[in-house]
Amino acid sequence: MIMTSGLRKTFEGGVEAVRGVDLTVRAGEIVALLGPNGASKTTTMRMLTTLLRPTAGTATVAGRDLLTDPRGVRGRIGYVSQGGGIAPAEPVGEQLELHALLYGMRPAAARRRVAETLERFGLTHLAGRPGAALSGGQRRRFDLAFGLVHGPSLLFLDEPTTGLDPQSRADLADHLRRLRAEEGLTVLLTTHYLDEADALADRLVVVDHGAVIAEGTPAEIRGGAGTLDEAFLALTGRSLRDGGPGTAGVAGTVGAGERGTA
């Protein structure tokens, strides 16, 4: 479903945010890109979703070539960014309908899909509300609805549980597993939470400083270590949570590049 080879991103000013990522995600997998802040998870995801043009490398995403057919890629993927994309003033249901229509759905089909999607996430009663009137958990569910309303085969989730309470996190995990079971959805998500990666994903790809440093099932990554945190320490020589000694400078520069937008 995703296959990249030597994917690179060098920002203006020479910051090498992503330095040659080779990544394979098979259909029906839920894969987590795991790494500390500044590891360039977001930059990698923004390249795979056509928001940033890679400096070098090739990739096939959802059966389409990322470089030669970005619109083809866009039509087949769903993407939920870190902050989501809900306008504060307009009713969310109308925003969702426009979003569905822009995927080329006919009006009747779009309305039906919007209704189904709202139903699935328990949002039907909130469709008339403006974005600003939603709680954090409701917003996140709507974000997911935006990512899925057109029925993509591949979903990208950037830091999907940031700001969610434990119950909403568990709900998200349930939703993803159900979507995979029912519709064969493939998911690539990013996270810097170890427990989240462990709970959500079948396979972890550990990235740091713009490169893949390990990949495998949560159990494989854990290895002899008791927790993923320890495993990460063993892999990178620094702790996942605090950035560790002597790395703050490097992580800082890459982080600045990671925020670069289209």
């Binding site: 928001l51 940033l52 866009r74 960014s81 994309g85 809900i86 504060p88 080329g104 937008t261 289209a262």
Partner: protein, 244 residues
């Protein structure tokens, strides 16, 4: 239906619905020219005519309404809406054009309202001239809204509001909106000739006076059309940037 046209129509329809729902915003962006009409117009009419003042106020309205249309993009960029739309397969030109046409349509509605109020105060322009003037305003709205959207994407979002709302003031004054530039000293007259909006004001004045086939109308129409074409092209380029 052709993809770009269909998508432009979808975005336009959405923006128009939004504008109609937020009528307060539409009234507010037309408030300044309206205040000039009501509180300055009667004074101006003592020395000039309504047919000279109202065209000037229409161009002022264009600058304050369509010229600040980029605010929408600033908000949409901040709330992540723009990025969400950029990941759909919709053409990015359509995402721009739908907004721009929405801004132009809003300006057209506001212009019609301003002219109607002008009639109540004593404006006596021929209908054909008014309609031709409104066509020019719609075209001006396309150019200004495209330019404003492009600037909004390029400029630091925190600076957009203060810079743009300041920039429209000298542009309005230099257009000769309030008093004809023929009264200006040489240097001011020369400066105003460099800005496109002077030609639009002069063309609409001719049209409101019932003179249609004059050099001033031709110049105003040409300047407006070129402005629209250049700004839409520039806006499309900006919207397409970082297009992998």
């Amino acid at each position: 239906m052709n993809g770009v046209l269909r998508e432009t129509w979808l975005v336009l329809r959405y923006n128009v619905r939004l504008a109609l729902r937020q009528r307060a915003g539409m009234v507010f962006s037309a408030l300044q020219p309206l205040l000039y009409l009501v509180l300055f117009g009667p004074l101006f009419a003592a020395v000039g005519t309504w047919e000279v003042l109202v065209p000037g106020l229409l161009v002022q309205l264009g600058l304050f309404s369509a010229g600040l249309a980029g605010f929408g993009v600033v908000f949409d960029a901040r709330s992540g809406v723009l990025e969400r739309l950029r990941v759909t397969p919709a053409h990015r030109a359509a995402l721009l054009l739908g907004r721009v046409l929405g801004g132009s349509l809003t300006l057209l509605l506001q212009s019609a309202a301003l002219v109607a109020v002008g009639y109540a105060f004593g404006l006596r322009a021929p209908l054909a001239g008014v309609l031709a003037g409104l066509v020019l305003m719609a075209l001006l709205g396309i150019g200004l809204a495209a330019l404003s959207n492009a600037i909004a994407l390029v400029m630091n979002p925190d600076l957009f509001a203060p810079v743009m709302s300041t920039a429209v003031v000298p542009l309005t004054l230099l257009s000769g909106a309030f008093l004809p530039m023929s009264m200006a000293p040489g240097w001011l007259d020369a400066l105003s000739r460099v800005t496109p909006f002077r030609y639009v004001v002069e063309a609409v004045r001719e049209l409101f006076a019932g003179r249609y086939l004059t050099p001033a109308v031709a110049a105003g129409a040409a300047v407006t059309a070129v402005l629209a074409a250049v700004c839409v092209a520039a806006g499309t380029r900006v919207f397409n940037r970082e297009n992998a």
